[in-house]
């Protein structure tokens, strides 16, 4: 029987969707260019994942084998649409920037993976917690990558945070140097950063086991 503690550890560390399962690479690589867009898309994914897990778990008695996959995709797509509408409602400017990738959350395999392997087999509370922790694990990796790439690629950190926080967000921007290392902004920079993160995680995990 799974416990809340196990679910938490799995989502954040041992089965982290981004660093261990390597799921959802498309958004991971595409929006990790700056901290702000990483945070925005990470939070959206987290919310969608939590609610789609909850919803699928709620209706799991209905989801027989023959319709499980289409039903799960439909639920996920619906929640992504809801999130998309809410983003336009609250953070229109941010939506202009990351809106393209919000739709891609549907294709983030983390969501279908969790729906299939966890939510459709577990009680609602656990399913929601699993969605939340997997989402948080994804969000953490995404924001760390966003921060690293932004610092190295643009020389700034927390730029454009006003898109999320309103005008006070402008004051958070930190400028380290003026020109950045272009490669880090481009897609290869995302692969390099992710590779380094995975290597660090593996190194750390191994030293824990010794």
């Amino acid at each position: 029987m799974t416990s809340a503690r196990e679910i938490t550890i799995e989502g954040l560390w041992t089965r982290n969707p981004a660093m261990v399962q390597l799921l959802g690479l498309c958004p991971l690589l595409a929006v990790s260019g700056t901290f702000t867009s990483a945070l925005g898309l990470g939070l959206t994914t987290l919310v969608v994942l939590t609610f789609s897990n909850l919803f699928i778990s709620l209706f799991r008695a209905l989801l027989t084998d023959s319709i499980r996959l289409p039903a799960q995709i439909m639920v996920i797509a619906s929640f992504v649409t809801l999130a998309d509408i809410l983003l336009q409602y609250w953070f229109f400017d941010l939506h202009q920037r990351i809106g393209l990738f919000v739709a891609l959350i549907v294709t983030n395999c983390t969501l279908l993976g969790r729906a299939e392997s966890f939510a459709s087999r577990n009680r609602m509370g656990y399913a929601a917690l699993d969605g939340f922790m997997m989402g948080l694990g994804f969000l953490l990796v995404l924001t760390v990558m966003g921060a690293v790439r932004e610092i190295l690629g643009q020389g700034t950190l927390f730029s454009n945070l006003h898109l999320l926080l309103g005008e006070t967000g402008r004051e958070f921007e930190i400028r380290f140097w003026d020109s950045g290392f272009l490669l880090m902004v481009l897609p290869p920079g995302a692969f390099l950063t992710l590779g380094c993160l995975i290597a660090l995680k593996n190194k750390f995990s191994m030293s824990l086991h010794e």
Binding site: A61, L62, L63, F92, Q96, F101
Partner: protein
């Protein structure tokens, strides 16, 4: 629940109905605010296209605005779309002065490839500023590689070409309609 599970189609339809209801309810509730947000966002962008905070921007229609300063029309800002993008429609605002010189162009909606074709956005690259100060007569409206006056940005010839063509046809349209638009703006003023 038990009964429904025996007929998968019915449960799939029921689930679809629940999802559909959720989405349409939220859409109905948020629609007007989202439209307002879109409007505010567009106006902010129009101000940025002009680059002069002292000018007033006044709406003529959803796709046409004019700017004025001290009761004199300083130009028009209109929407222009191109269907020749790499991936669907590219929509932009074009600001022209009364003597048909481009004051600025800003793309506000497109589906070009992120990281490659999105350099037409001002937030990504300054390429779009190449159009500033240009008019129909003083240059050749095509890419340098086609014998024209505009450099394309690498990896996205189609996107760049679509935009050059779109701005050119926008400028032609503005020139053709100049008299009509001016009259319209003056009538609104009265």
């Amino acid at each position: 629940m038990k009964y429904l599970a025996k007929s998968p189609i019915i449960s799939l339809v029921a689930l679809a109905a629940v999802c559909g209801t959720l989405i349409s309810t939220l859409h109905a509730v948020t629609r007007s605010t989202i439209a307002e947000n879109q409007q505010t966002y567009s106006l902010k962008q129009l101000k940025a296209v002009l680059g002069d905070p002292a000018e007033n921007i006044i709406r003529l229609s959803d796709e046409l605005y004019y700017s004025e300063k001290a009761n004199r029309i300083t130009g028009f800002i209109f929407q222009q779309s191109s269907h020749e993008g790499y991936n669907g429609t590219i929509k932009s605002w074009i600001a022209v002065s009364p003597d048909h010189v481009i004051r600025g162009v800003r793309v506000f909606e497109h589906h070009e490839t992120p990281g490659i074709g999105d350099k037409i956005e001002i937030g990504v690259s300054d390429w779009i500023k190449l159009f500033d100060g240009k008019s129909l007569t003083d240059i050749t409206w095509s890419l340098a590689r086609d014998g024209g006056s505009f450099d394309h940005f690498s990896g996205a010839t189609i996107t760049s070409r679509a935009l050059v063509k779109s701005v050119e046809s926008g400028l032609t349209r503005a020139q053709d309609k100049a008299a009509q638009w001016t009259k319209w703006a003056e009538n609104i003023n009265d």
